[in-house]
Subunit: 407 residues, 2 copies
């Protein structure tokens, strides 16, 4: 009886298990660069002959190769390591930021092979213009490559509908319900869909997989720009909520009765109190530099003793600390990561942030959390877009290649 | 090659798949009461002969029975339905609340078969006293039953360490690092461990599985008592964070510069602004009724036109609304559920809560969310404790019974 029951499902299970093992092995070498068979066997809980067979399948498809490791410093015959074929398979990754457009060709293994960047005006931008610039970059990036594009991903500074990459709400560029993912896919003409994600969501994924958050199953990534976005990893997965619109920590009200107006129409939101505008206003520098340069100028001035800059950072740091404290109480995370322009603000206001965390976080959660700045720096969102683009290949490598070949 | 690879894992997969299917079938009838084979086949994505075989195994173990449905109102021979053996297998569920101790015998299928309750003084309580009362209740509940106890669960109003049920922080009873789960298990002497959870976490699970939240993969449960706790379901699972101490929404700072003192040592926390004490103080009723009765008296008075009570509810409702708005922006949930004493407060302040949600939640998340009161009423936490106690049986029914028999 038991045997019969089990067999009824085993046909499906065997095939599923093989696919998922192929994907898992490829994911390991994609994220870690090169791994010996025995390291792979240990990480995947499989025996070495199974690892060998899986590696042979991936090698046959050209996705990985086995080779001698670089000098191991040990005597004796070293064992082979498995490496991703970085130059042969790549994705296109795009990052639509408030102040610039970025495009990159990123190889299997996560290396940025080539990139293009354009500074853009901050005023409202036309969908058609943005897509046009990105598609132009893509032609330059793909044209010279004797290799296969296996996916396309894009980070956008706004609320994104999963599935089709519609920008539902992008206040920084004045976009509402703009079919960004679909338009970009058509303009690229590569026969591949464009996976679009919110920039902070993707920054969180990137820091979780390749940045300071590696190994942390629960982490919070705050991304500062004109606004403040968030990506929150819960149990190893991005918190997306019912429609994919979760993590909007920038619209947490921290200053309910005396708050600054926010781009969302409300007042006293975290992003209104700690965003670029708030800091520059508080430091009395409204008419000068903006963006990262403007923020850095205030932080540098504070370090050199400018009292107005110091006071501005104290105020902003206190609001940031309230937001961070609330998030730690809610999520009991292992790490909070500051990305975008927030590393600069945190550098200038760490004392205030720590003070709020000490005063307002329950001690059990406080003892367990680390505050860090993004390991991938400004590229966190771009790298996240690349990882989004690799997702299909890593889910089922041979099927994804078969689909690519048919296009 | 492919076949070989698959076979290497199939031995484990077959046995695992059988266990998980047995558990899943039992979970369906446990949660839904009775289901036909065809309904089970549809829910589980298996064919009817597999369902028949699984049902036969569970019937053999005495966990379910097949019988004719009650009058179907249709002509012809009705098909059999599978029901849980409610009277034969049960769990003990305990609920340690601020104002009372509750114990219940809950049958497979979720029916409360018998219960005991004691009102308790609000002043600090001794671990030994609490455990003594609960163990006394358990003897009364178990003594008369010709049936098998398959698990023990307890809800506690504080921060609980998973694994051993240590109360790390229970401010309402003045407990710090009290070995509640271990002590209760020893005193009961049933040879079973006690699974302990935070009351609001368990309330959330109960509402998700049996209350108004059934079918919602993302929901927020706020539990009001002297304090305000939370249980948040993300992607169908309880958000627990790194150590199991997540969801502390009661310590979200909503009133940063003019806040009331909170039991956690901070000021302006949500629970300090909307808890029982805040409402009674605001309504000028400090010396009168406390607890649910005190809250209801204020809400009733407001409905009858008492201006002080109305003003108090407006104030509390505004703070509650800020907290709820922040949570909706963060979690993009399908539902927010008010439990404990919050249904009464919400009844008296819905206009303020809705007004804050309308003003402060991003429109995309706002359109998708419902605000509701707990479907299980005051029993949500107790039912959650029972579900926690059933978890081992539902994970692997036959193994769990084998373990029970060995004790």
């Amino acid at each position: 009886m038991r045997q019969d029951l089990a067999m009824l499902k085993s046909g499906r299970s065997q095939e599923e298990s093989r696919r998922s093992n192929l994907g898992e092995l490829l994911r390991h070498v994609h994220l870690e660069g090169s791994l010996s068979r025995s390291a792979l066997a240990e990480r995947m809980g499989l025996n070495r002959s199974t690892i060998m067979a899986l590696t042979a399948e991936l090698t046959g498809a050209g996705l990985v190769r086995e080779e001698l490791p670089r000098d191991t410093g040990r005597a004796g015959r070293p064992s082979l390591v498995v490496r991703p074929e970085t130059d042969r398979f790549y994705v296109l990754a795009f990052d639509v930021r408030v102040d610039r457009l970025v495009a990159a060709r990123v190889g299997l293994g996560g290396k940025v092979l080539d990139r293009r960047e354009a500074v853009r005006q901050r005023a409202g931008a036309d969908l058609d213009d943005v897509v046009g610039v990105l598609a132009g970059f893509a032609r330059e990036l793909c044209g010279q490559a004797d290799s296969v594009c296996v996916g396309i991903g894009a980070a956008y500074c706004g609320m994104i509908r999963p599935g089709d990459g519609m920008v539902r709400f992008g206040p920084d560029m004045g976009w509402v319900d703009q079919a960004f993912g679909t338009e970009l896919g058509q303009r690229l003409g590569l026969g591949l869909p464009v996976a679009v994600g919110n920039e902070a969501h993707l920054g969180a994924l990137a820091e979780h997989e390749r940045g300071v958050g590696v190994g942390y199953q629960n982490l919070i990534y705050l991304h500062g720009d004109v606004g403040v976005g968030g990506g929150i990893i819960v149990g190893g997965k991005l918190l997306d909520g019912d429609g994919g619109y979760g993590c909007e920590l920038g619209h947490m009200i921290v200053n309910p009765y005396d708050g600054r107006p926010c781009g969302c129409g409300s007042r006293g939101c975290l992003e209104a109190e700690v965003g670029e505008r708030a800091l520059l206003d508080a430091a009395g520098r409204s008419a000068e530099l903006v963006g990262h340069d403007g923020i850095r100028a205030v932080v540098d001035a504070a370090e050199e003793g400018d009292e107005a800059a110091r006071e501005a950072l104290r105020r902003i740091g206190d609001w940031l600390g309230i937001g961070v404290a609330n998030l730690i109480n809610l999520f009991n995370p292992g790490m909070v990561i500051f990305g975008g322009m927030l590393p600069d603000i945190y550098r200038g206001s760490a004392a205030q942030v720590h003070s709020r965390v000490a005063a307002n976080v329950l001690v059990i959660s406080r003892e367990a959390v680390q505050l860090r700045t993004a390991g991938l720096g400004d590229d966190a969102t771009l790298i996240g877009a690349a990882e989004l683009a690799f997702a299909e290949l890593l889910a089922s490598p041979l099927d994804a290649l078969a689909h690519s070949a048919l296009r």
